[in-house]
């Protein structure tokens, strides 16, 4: 009998140990996946924060720019920079033939003319002089410099010719290639050219969408939650509503996208591809999340607080507004932020309402066309150029950073303002 008991006890301890082991290995697996995922994104994406520049001597020849003596500001604006830009690239190899001159031109971004112009506008005294100007390298050379480009492929399978590589290597050897922090990634809108593409448009698009979403979803959801939790009679009808709010939270987001397309765009003719429409569509998605969070935190307020207020002669409205709602706010707010974080990462509904369009301007208001961060990731991931690979990862990093900050904020609100019950 005693021996049996001991065996049983041992068995129980062993079972417990096994269970701990299962739990630990599950956590280990989760952490492993997370680490691999983050490592992959960072190792691909970090190089996008650097940008390669070619340092090219430019001669600001007044004659080639069609400028008179003592030109005014307007003259400088209207001057022709294409010829001096072309000439300075061609001068990199004095022996170049016409084809090779063309290849030389394609070593920098098509933006090089503008970069040279800005240089002169900053310092008009440069006319007639020669100055070394930083020009954005083409996306392929950018990748070559970062070591991401397969140089050993046969020439006809590469977008960079042997000739371009030769000149580029010479420039590198002379210290005329420099890598600097990629400011334009944050200040430029999207572009077909990887070296010029930035996230400014999609970032602003995301912010505007989230703001529109917050302004619509938060008040509606909080009012709905307060009514359902504090005022509505408990009957079949409110049960029905409650079930359907939970159902709404489970509806795939693309369905909301179709709704936005069919109602907001087709019936109300709101402007297509705008954060306004995106925000409204996302708010439909966020609504049930916030309602559920708000109701849960209203429910968590002890009934004794309500009774105390009611027994003091407070009306139902006063009880709710003076006590229950303020006490439930931390939970409601952190639920709201989590709902918004979900909305921030949502792609499918935005694609359906046209926020997937190529937008090369930075939106100034929710009424301007824009992309959003997750959609930007989708657009870039679809692009063929090698330069977009790192951009995709970098954009994911920005989006993840954004989400982590929001979730952190939700945690802080919850911990800081949560009331401890006696």
């Amino acid at each position: 009998m005693n021996k049996n008991k001991e065996q049983l006890l041992n068995k129980r301890y062993k079972a417990e140990q096994r269970f701990r082991l299962y739990g630990l290995s599950a956590i280990f697996m989760a952490l492993l996946f997370l680490t691999i995922f983050i490592f992959k994104i960072f190792s691909t994406g970090y190089s996008a924060f650097q940008k390669t520049w070619l340092i090219v001597p430019v001669t600001f020849d007044a004659e080639l720019m069609m400028l008179d003596q003592n030109p005014s500001k307007e003259d400088l604006q209207d001057a022709d920079y294409y010829d001096i830009a072309l000439k300075s690239m061609a001068d990199l190899d004095p022996n170049a033939n016409e084809d090779q001159e063309n290849e030389l031109k394609r070593m920098v971004s098509y933006f090089f003319e503008k970069e040279i112009k800005n240089e002169l506008l900053n310092d008009p005294n440069l006319i007639g002089k020669t100055k070394e100007v930083y020009l954005t390298a083409s996306d392929d050379l950018d990748q070559v410099f970062k070591g991401n480009y397969p140089r050993d492929l046969p020439e006809d399978q590469r977008r960079v010719s042997d000739y371009q590589l030769k000149i580029f290597d010479q420039l590198v050897a002379n210290g005329k290639v420099e890598s600097k922090f990629n400011i334009s990634f944050f200040t430029n809108a999207d572009s077909r050219e990887a070296e010029l593409a930035g996230i400014a448009s999609s970032f602003m698009g995301s912010i505007f969408s989230i703001l529109v979403c917050l302004m619509i979803a938060f008040p509606v959801a909080v009012l709905a939650a307060i009514y359902l939790e504090e005022f509505a009679p408990k009957n079949r009808f409110t049960d029905f509503i409650e079930v359907n709010i939970n159902n709404l939270a489970a509806v795939p987001s693309i369905v909301f996208g179709l709704l936005g397309l069919g109602v907001l765009l087709a019936i109300f003719h709101l402007p297509r591809s705008t954060p306004l429409v995106g925000g409204i569509t996302l708010s439909l998605m966020t609504l049930p999340t916030i309602i559920i969070a708000a109701r849960a935190s209203l429910k968590a307020v002890p009934p004794s607080i309500r009774e105390a207020a009611l027994a003091m002669g407070a009306s139902r409205m006063q009880t709710t507004m003076h006590h229950t709602v303020p006490l439930s706010m931390p939970g409601t707010l952190s639920g709201t932020i989590i709902g918004l974080a979900q909305a921030l990462g949502e792609t499918a509904p935005l694609i359906l309402i046209g926020m997937v369009a190529f937008v090369n301007t930075i939106p100034g208001s929710p009424m301007d066309p824009a992309a959003s961060l997750p959609v930007q990731i989708y657009i870039w991931a679809e692009s063929a150029e090698r330069g977009f690979v790192e951009k995709v990862s970098a954009c994911i990093m920005v989006l993840l950073g954004f989400l982590i900050i929001m979730n952190l904020f939700a945690q802080i609100i919850r911990h800081k303002f949560e009331k401890k019950w006696s």
Binding site: P233, K234, P302, S304, I305, R306, E307, A308, A309, L310, A311, M312, G313, A314, S315, Q318, H322, H323, L327, K419, K420, W421, S422
Partner: protein, 251 residues
């Protein structure tokens, strides 16, 4: 003088009847104790007196409850005005998670009883003094009420209840969560409060009922078995069940 007159009060939770035919008179400026085993309906009856049962959707109350000869179950009765006149102290201390000052000033604020900050300060001070809490907390009026000890919290709740000078104070087992010293303080307080207020106290402790009350009602299974002066109920009850309960044979 009779302050509250209950006539044939029935209470239902859904289909289940919780109180049967309760008729009870409550004397002004005296302490009336309601005793009985758990689930006998004494708290339910107490909550009828300030219509706190309204909060429970499935609860319905029938019969007449006259306070100052006015039927509070009548449609014309305004619950907010009623609860201003009938204060309540609960079983578990439930101060608002706000400062001591805000706790006490809440009632006077919503009922517009103070014209100035000074008047409000006075109300808070007198209420806390009447609740025998002033000396202990006068230096920390702006600290959270939830930071007090259990007994202090309960006295804070009493101060909150008397801040609107109610005519009646209902107490639902106010000492059940407190230690003997805090209990003694509250009992002393009850004795003091009965000069200005009519007090009805639900208690599980027969010793407490005997100590603080002048009248006692004994409830059993939703019926009022016997009521009368505390002396009579404890020394010479008419009913066998009362006798058994008092002597500890059940309950």
């Amino acid at each position: 003088m009779i302050k509250i007159k209950a006539k044939d009060v029935d209470v239902f939770y859904g289909k289940k009847q919780a109180l049967f035919n309760i008729s009870l008179d409550i004397e002004e400026n005296q302490v009336t104790a309601l005793i009985g085993p758990s689930g006998c309906g004494k708290s339910t009856f107490l909550r009828c007196l300030n219509r706190m049962n309204d909060v429970i959707d499935i609860c319905s109350v029938k019969g007449e409850i006259l306070i100052n000869d006015f039927n509070i179950n009548d449609k014309s009765c305004d619950v907010v005005r009623l609860r201003e006149k009938i204060g309540m102290v609960f079983q578990k201390p439930n101060p608002f998670p706000k400062t001591l000052y805000e706790n006490v000033s809440y009632g006077p604020t919503i009922h517009g009883m103070a014209q100035s900050k000074q008047e409000m300060d006075e109300i808070v001070e007198t209420s806390l003094k009447k609740a025998a809490l002033w000396e202990e907390v006068k230096d920390r009026l702006h600290e959270p009420g939830t930071g007090l000890s259990g007994g202090q919290q309960q006295r804070l709740c009493i101060a909150r209840a008397i801040s609107v000078t109610p005519e009646v104070i209902l107490m639902d087992e106010p000492c059940s969560a407190l230690d003997p010293i805090a209990t003694a303080q509250i009992e002393e307080l009850i004795d003091e409060l009965k000069k200005e207020h009519t007090i009805i106290i639900v208690t599980h402790s027969m010793a407490q009922a005997a100590r603080v009350s002048q009248n006692t009602g004994f409830f059993h299974l939703g019926r009022l078995i016997e009521h009368g002066s505390t002396d009579k109920i404890f020394k010479n009850p008419d009913n066998k069940k009362t006798q058994d309960y008092i002597t500890g044979r059940f309950g």
